[in-house]
Symmetry: C2
Subunit: 151 residues, 2 copies
């Protein structure tokens, strides 16, 4: 189960986050891989771009991976600790492992996932951290809207 | 907070479920209302129709309600107990109450939501129950795919 490179996978998620930023959206990116490193789907938050509050980075990557019979051989990589919504996705579909860019600007349900058997790797990546820190400072209203909290 | 009629709201979700069934999809429907009974969005599972595993009934209704600053004055109604994915949605966005058609064919995260302060109403509606019972019997592979389990 450790036949994967968290850094290489995170680079794909970070690329997605930067695309989201360039589009004026919430700069969070994610991707779904097999444990052997095959890319199944990648995506980024689409709240601003599509006016779609249901498309967080993780759900966008999951959608873009299309229909699958099961997810026990998959890894979700995301630039930010997954919120409860995205943590629920991981638990329901039995995604085996989550690689997280950073969990400092926001800490979602990754401890809960670990308690229920999901593997968790927190990279604590400086690029992911500065991307989110800057975004939260510059667009607090958009950030709080994205997680359903009031500023 | 009890200024709403669970039966009237559930009728909308059930209509969505029947539309999904008619389309050959997973027959689960949902809708998001304000606590005063205003319909914000409605939808049904889109796995088959759009090849989209991320669109459960609840996430479809949430998407169709569009962007909102908060959800503390909203009620989600769904024909079936929400899975972990959809329960995570409810918790993350602070949806105040969930009305559930039935929780016999499947029981997701509604107890967990109740522990965290979400109001839960289980209607135990015979029409919702027979709709799901029949579906699970006739299309077990599709049902298990929809919840990420192996038959």
């Amino acid at each position: 189960m450790t036949n994967f490179d968290p850094g290489e996978m995170l680079a794909v998620a970070r690329e997605e986050a930067l695309t989201g930023k360039a589009e004026g959206g919430v700069p969070i990116g994610a991707a779904l891989f097999t444990v052997d490193g095959e890319l199944l789907g990648r995506g980024h938050n689409r709240r601003v771009q599509d006016g779609d509050p249901s498309m967080h980075a993780e759900t966008a990557a999951f959608r873009n991976a299309g229909r699958r019979r099961h997810y026990r051989d998959t890894i979700m990589v995301t630039t930010l600790s997954p919120c409860w919504y995205c943590s629920g996705l991981v638990r329901q579909f039995g995604i085996s492992h989550v690689v997280i860019g950073e969990a400092r600007t926001f800490s979602g349900g990754h401890d809960w996932l670990a308690e229920h058997g999901t593997g968790i790797t927190i990279v604590d990546d400086p690029a992911c951290l500065s991307l989110m820190t800057e975004f939260v400072r510059e667009h607090p209203e958009l950030w709080f809207e994205d997680i359903g909290e009031e500023a």
